[in-house]
């Protein structure tokens, strides 16, 4: 096994590293330090695509953001992301290079690709990991199960196989709520490109030796990208403050919720009912079928507190609940609660914060 940790990096449409990918490089640093024995682990930025110049440009940014080296897998079949070709391309390279670990951020693509790659390598995988500890010379990866009600520590049994790990955004580093996007971004220095550290690996699926002749890789054809929920929803995973609304909020309530979120430079979240009623887009959904958030402050309004919602926000540092029902379950998991009508309380709270700030 090579003492290398590969970090699979993603870019936006302009070729800029996603903030989640910068975060992943910072996490790779923590993992390397935790795993280090006699020999240091090298952190390798892993990028795949078709455009050499774009990839090289991104690789240089990754080298400035904590990577020791970069590997670019280049091929026409990688022009558009697909789990089928990307898992084959990365799997083939990892099969010969044998890195100790390949890290993924738990993004839409990360969760699509990482398990398929694990199966391609017949390797073990830990998904949605939130922390790493070393105990008796053994690395224990921590993840949550049973809707966040249990912390499970898991180790890899096969030391001679590449290990695949996907990591929850906004997690890691001690309490499981360490790194936020802002911190690793701060680490990015405009370091001059270390050209020698970039390796290019061409990819063509037909070159694969591991498949029988004539077996082609088939992938779905992307027909359309629907308009993105171009709003604060996408920032939920890394937001320090979230103001969320539920059944009790209504469309009018969400206007107040947005106003308060703006005031606190936070993001807007929602319960399942609010999304189903069309008051807000799915990107804002917090809970079992949405995303899990860990802000410093979680203010929720008109959310009764179903188990499905609580699993998505129980790790917020401070929970403030506003609900007219004093028996609402949400109060059981709150630090502070106000019993009352959110349509009256939110304007008062907004005014109070403005007054306090002068």
């Amino acid at each position: 096994m090579k003492k290398e940790i590969w970090a699979y990096l993603e870019t936006d449409s302009r070729g800029e590293l996603l903030s989640s990918s910068k975060e992943l490089l910072a996490k790779a640093g923590i993992i390397a330090a935790t795993a280090e024995e006699e020999e240091k682990y090298l952190i390798c930025a892993l990028l795949a695509g078709a455009e050499h110049d774009v990839l090289e440009n991104t690789a240089e940014k990754a080298l400035g953001a904590g990577a020791d080296k970069a590997v670019l897998i280049e091929g026409d079949e990688l022009a558009v992301y697909s789990a089928e070709f990307y898992s084959d391309a990365i799997g083939r390279l990892a099969g010969t290079e044998k890195p100790k670990m390949i890290l993924f951020e738990r993004t839409t693509d990360g969760m699509d690709l990482a398990p398929r790659l694990a199966a391609r390598l017949q390797a073990g995988m830990i998904s949605d990991c939130v922390d790493l500890v070393r105990e008796g010379g053994k690395l224990l990866w921590i993840r949550h199960a049973f809707g966040g009600t249990a912390a499970v520590s898991v180790s890899f049994r096969e030391q001679e196989r590449t290990q695949i790990i996907s990591i929850r955004p906004g997690s890691f580093g001690g309490s499981g709520r360490g790194i936020k996007a802002a911190e690793p971004a701060g680490m990015v220095q405009d370091a001059p490109g270390k050209k020698g550290a970039i390796t290019i690996k061409p990819y063509k699926s037909a070159d694969s030796g591991s498949r029988a002749a004539g077996e082609k890789i088939v992938r779905p054809a992307l027909l359309e990208v629907l308009e993105a929920a171009a709003d604060r929803g996408a920032d939920l995973g890394t937001a320090n403050v979230i103001v969320a609304g539920g059944n009790g909020a209504g469309p009018e309530g969400f206007k107040l919720i947005e106003e308060l979120a703006d005031l606190l430079h936070g993001a807007v979240g929602a319960s399942r009912v609010a999304v189903d009623k069309g008051w807000i887009s799915h990107a804002h959904l917090i809970g079992q079928s949405g995303i899990t958030v860990t802000p410093d402050l979680y203010i929720n309004c008109g959310i009764s507190g179903s188990v499905q919602h609580i699993v998505g926000m129980r790790d917020a540092k401070c929970v403030v609940s506003i609900n007219k029902d004093p028996k609402a379950l949400i109060f059981n998991v709150s630090d502070y609660g106000i019993v009352g009508n959110l349509h009256k309380i939110l304007p008062a709270l907004i005014a109070e914060i403005r007054r306090h700030r002068g």
Partner: protein, 321 residues
């Protein structure tokens, strides 16, 4: 011609969310009340299969589960909803198998079902995650071991069809709205756009994506994992539930799974199937309950301004705001 669709829906028996496994306030597990039910995300997969069947009534739906004998109940749930049959992979030798081994075993189970039923599994539908382990890994791993393309975190899907007389034009990327046809009548199908290189019947799948949902044309055979869509899942029919109770469900043992001479793209050799805890890639060291020790301070004041003043003072003094 619309091809006859065979869909295998993979389901898992999991603890009922919010009932047995834990009391969020106390952080305790009450195992006595722990009820085992079908994983809710698998119900979305089942619903998606039933919706395909509504458009193409010849569609065959077969449920598949791996677990203890008691897991037969989730297969009967699927039959109650409209599946024609349910296969249970059940063997003490498979107890303690991790996700990798489970995906290998289920891939071989799909091939066994194909042989026994004399069909091709055109689509395998799974829940995007489970409410117990919640790894979201099984679907993509199974797709790889079956050697088929995948779409994960789908909201819904429908059938697509190449227009008659359309020639193969080679694969190229299709972008924009050009390809997608609106379904006007009950029986009309979306057309597979030219230029995708996809022939015959395919699935049109909407995938949930934070950067904007994506619409894919997914060629058969394929695998799709489903997350919660905005529509409700249906209730089972009483008559079908009763019928399911009296049905004898086929059970696949380790012998059935490993002895059959199964080959094909991705399928693991018998001797490389990693069944049981000894061959697992992962080892669970410890499971710890995550207690919630919130000291809730509830403010009840009929005057909202007064209530807010009390709250704001505390938040400011603790540096939270």
């Amino acid at each position: 011609m619309l091809q006859l669709m065979n869909i295998i829906v993979c389901v898992k028996q999991t603890p009922e969310a919010g009932r047995g496994e834990m009391n969020p306030a106390a952080g305790t597990v009450d195992r006595t009340s722990q009820k085992q039910l079908i994983n809710p995300f698998d119900l979305y997969a089942m619903e998606a299969a039933l919706r395909v069947q509504e458009k193409a009534p010849d569609t065959r739906i077969i449920a598949l589960s791996m677990g203890p004998a008691s897991a037969a109940s989730v297969l009967r749930d699927c039959i109650g909803l409209g599946a024609e049959n349910g296969y249970l992979v059940c063997d003490p030798a498979f107890a303690g198998t991790d996700v990798r081994g489970t995906a290998q075993i289920l891939a071989r189970a799909v091939r066994v079902i194909e042989k026994r039923e004399g069909i091709r599994a055109d689509a395998v539908f799974c829940g995007a995650k489970t409410v117990d382990g919640g790894t979201s890994m099984l679907g993509p791993e199974l797709a790889q071991f079956l050697g088929v393309p995948q779409v994960t975190y789908a909201l819904h899907c429908s059938l697509m069809q190449t227009p008659e007389g359309q020639e193969e034009t080679g694969q190229q990327e299709v972008t924009g709205r050009t390809g997608l046809q609106e379904v006007s009548g009950e029986t009309s199908l979306k057309e597979v756009p030219a230029g995708t290189g996809i022939q015959g019947t395919a699935l049109c799948v909407e995938k949930e994506d934070d950067r904007g949902n994506r619409i894919y044309c997914l060629p058969l055979p394929c695998l799709v994992t489903f997350t919660k869509a905005s529509f409700q899942v249906r209730y089972p029919l009483i008559a079908r539930i009763l019928e399911a109770e009296s049905m004898e469900l086929p059970v696949l043992s380790a012998g059935d799974i490993l002895a059959e001479n199964l080959t094909g793209h991705g399928i693991s050799e018998e001797n490389s199937v990693k069944a049981g805890p000894d061959k697992a890639a992962m080892q669970v060291q410890e499971v710890e309950l995550r207690k919630m020790d919130k000291q809730s301070q509830i403010i009840e004041d009929p005057d909202p301004v007064k209530a807010v003043t009390v709250l704001a003072q505390r938040l400011f003094s603790e540096g939270i705001l």
